[in-house]
Symmetry: D2
Subunit: 323 residues, 4 copies
């Protein structure tokens, strides 16, 4: 059994962490620390959870933490920067869901198993990727083989609002999200830098446009990735590259024919669906994920499974409803 | 192992039947019959299902049916009236999700386990209740003890649109449902008669108003049931009656204090949540369910479990996502 | 020309006030005071407004106010209690959209023109009704004639989330409203007292249950009002009472036959639609309004028109889109 | 006064045509022809319209049509191909909202005033553009000056579901649209050809990808247009080109700074909002419109105004609600 702690346990991603870990056969959820919700019932914050338990106060996780434990930091970046070294010093291994350690942090491993599975297994500190970078990079990973033929990369992404977190803010209110498709983060979004850094690690150095949007849904993300290539490409060659990259991957499904991602089928799961086409001088890859699943909590649990040597699917066997 | 067949397998309730039965340890899904979708992929109709399998054509279930099998009729009433006798003649037991046999059918058992668990266990033909009657009756069942003090019953129900089925119709289109709270079925809705018939079976003969509404959501139903009583009642007495009725029930949760049903927590599950209050001369009971879960497919599987002597929760352990 | 000032000008109701008054031929919008938004562009807060203008700072309205001006207080109750006397002292007439003066305030007139049109015309201080009371009372006003035969009144109301205001709070966030029908305010909601007080003014003293809900829409409210009567009633008599009450009313439409309110048709307008039926021992009246229109800003402008002797429809001729 | 007829008068675009023309000072709506809805009340199909009037039967418009009349064809392409010559023969001028005459039809003028205002003024037959082409082309028109430097064009568009029409179909049902961002029309969508044909007319012959999506909203469209240019460009030069193209245009607003289109502000109107940025080797233009407004009915009325010599804004002064 692995002892796990969650710090920042009252947010949306934390709610999914609790849900996944609750059904994990090898994990004991020791601490659910939340400064803002300390002392209140967990089932009042996450009403699909039934267990009677209250949130622990600030400092509880550090006090309870032992060597070999796993700590999920699910709060703000600033807090993660402060707390991670303390948990590491206590001998715990840390998975941080904020963007504190994602770009240019030598002692952290970027927690995208599809690139860094081996390094994650040995990591003390894992920087769990953002939802936009996860969706964008899953589309780009198989294209490393033609990196020097890539002229431009454009990522046009559509996200559910839960990706903006649970802290009340005007832009997340129902009346502001309903009826709109909201472009934002122009000219620059912090996730853009994260995508670009990992693109470079894949050998892709082309000019890059990142264009995020909020659409009226709670969960789900679709990233349309357009890759302009300098020389003609064969669709069979393209499909073969994706088959190579994701064959045997339990969570990434490459759709055949003209099938496209269906976000409700991914909601509440750690799954990703990828569609491919080649037209108008561009490779068009679409990735669908749940921004809170493969885009946050699901991927964090997948990383924990890799770090602990568990089956990668452990605790992640959830299936979405039909509609 | 119980062999199961679904007729009318391409609708919303059928989709949930397949999802529940897929994870049932004692059921083999033999036939997925759909006249309209015959030959097409099941995963194209229900994109959260991954198995490669096609819908069977008309007549397949009857041809494959053996004595002791369970047949779910998930299509139109008229078809159910025609097919049920044929399946019964072949020795199968039938659970019909339409309203063909719900009111005034002597050889059918009304499939609400909270009233008829024993009769369901021995039934050959179970008339699975409608979603509105399920929600309304769960609120009324514990009130049988004061039936002769009840002066009026008003049921004001709010339903997700999936309850209207999957056949394309103007009233179910996104642009027609979005932005509206649509009252309908006035002055009379077929589900009203169904509720009234079972109210009478509970001994409640008071004047009754049923007022259904469609609200902009896909899944979920909240029924507000107002019961006007002639003599004052004690809230403790009321809570005790609900505790008696639902203590030990694996699916019906009576909420404490001022907690209210939370529909997203019930989505995709067979659960019901009930809230109680007493004020302004009325008992106010709220029941929350998933109209496709406890209001249709979940309850059908629960009935099958009772008929087959399985644990009532078998195949129904699904948990909703956090938001 | 009437000079008008809005205090608390950056909220949802204020946005609609600005929109209505902008197209009013006899009004000059002098001050748009907002403490929180002072100095920022009005078109950034209300992006359907194009005019280049910034919000005025705290105290601006009082400084600019002259005798005979109209002041709309569109902020919190506490602020209204503090500011209203100061504006009245300066000779202005005040329309307050908060609940500061709605119940038991002798020097304020309750601003529901369908009851108090004459008093409003002469009032210095008008307490603009809440959205729930407006919808509920429009259903009850014509029933005064049978007040002593009324045994019970139940109001089951469904509201869009904009009624909760524009201050960020968890309960108004998209992810919390989406997919749910949220009952709240049980056992008591401040609007319940407001409805009850005015019911008594109509002569109706029956036991009363008020049950508000939030549904997933931005604008719109449907109130289902169930009135239990002691003696049988004739539907013609009922329809005649509503025809008498609302004949010639430019904003209240009594629907014929089985027509029901359609909230998208009311969105952005000051209109109300009423449907009637008689069944199960109860009168069932449904009122549909836009909670920000006839439920707030529209009614405030209607009150201003009455106070200033303008045509009641002035500035209120907006028509909703088709879907 | 211009006499106008609408054929196919019960669809969504027709509903907006009626709404706009109802408030047009110079138009008399003579015929509202609908084969499917003949004899039923217009206010039952379009519940925000109050006038008591029934739909006319098939053939009514042709029977009533006189020389000089304007006929709006708002039905299917096939019907338009059959009827347009007959109306033209009777001396009427025709505005067709289907795609029957948009590509490669010598005697039809493509009804995008921002390109063909002069030709529209003299046209007998106007092919009113599709919503996707309108949004995409408004982004591309000002870029004609650098046509020979354009290497690639990618249009990633997000549309409300009303663009799919009012005929009941599975893909337009609430339960199918809710919770998803649905890519479709891959590898080819008929609107793609329409965009490409007009791009060529602007001198832009670059490889082109068109990628349409349905998002969960009723009205509104956002088109993200990415234009890859071979040589560096100056943002001032870019902004100047858009200012030149749309200065004085009553319906097209070029947003300053980092402002982005806000679809609720455009809902029910003929307005378009355009945002510009230059980054990552690409020009990124976003166009926001109401797919039923500037994307269909609004533009049709604008075309009529140009054909009849009326003020271009006549009947189109509608303003959206705040949220």
């Amino acid at each position: 059994m692995t002892r796990a702690h969650i710090v920042g346990a009252a947010g949306y991603a934390a709610g999914d962490l609790i849900r996944f870990l609750d059904s994990h056969p090898d994990v004991e959820l020791v601490t659910l620390e939340s400064e803002s919700a300390a002392g209140t019932q967990v089932r009042d914050a996450f009403r699909s959870l039934a267990e009677i338990r209250t949130f622990d106060g600030a400092g509880s996780a550090l006090a309870a933490c032992k060597s070999g434990d796993i700590v999920f930091l699910a709060g703000e970046s600033e807090k993660a920067r402060r707390l991670a070294p303390q948990f590491l010093a206590s001998g715990a291994r840390v998975i941080d869901l904020s963007d504190a350690f994602r770009v240019g942090t030598p002692n952290a491993v970027y927690g995208l198993p599809e690139i860094y599975r081996d390094q994650i297994a040995r990591a003390q500190l894992v920087a769990n990727p953002g939802c936009y970078p996860t969706a964008a990079l899953l589309a780009l990973i198989p294209l490393g083989f033609l990196a020097d033929r890539i002229a431009n990369v454009i990522v046009d992404a559509k996200s559910g609002i839960s990706g903006s977190g649970r802290s009340p803010k005007l832009a997340s209110m129902y009346a502001e999200v309903d009826g709109d498709v909201r472009a934002y983060g122009i000219p620059s979004h912090r996730h853009g830098k994260e995508i670009e850094a990992e693109m470079r690690a894949l050998g892709i150095v082309a000019p890059f446009v990142f264009s995020p949007h909020v659409v009226p849904l709670t969960r789900g993300m679709l990233a349309d990735v357009y890759v302009i290539v300098r020389e003609p490409l064969d669709e069979d060659e393209l499909r073969a590259a994706f088959a190579r990259a994701y064959g045997g991957n339990p969570f990434v499904e490459v759709l055949d024919g003209t099938r496209v991602p269906y976000l409700p089928a991914l909601a509440g799961t750690n799954r990703a669906q990828i569609a491919l086409s080649l037209r108008g001088g561009a490779i068009h890859v679409m990735t669908g994920i749940d921004n809170l699943g493969k885009g946050a909590a699901g991927q964090a649990v997948q990383n924990m499974n890799i770090m602990c040597g568990y089956l990668e699917e452990s605790g992640l066997g959830h299936r979405a409803a039909i509609v």
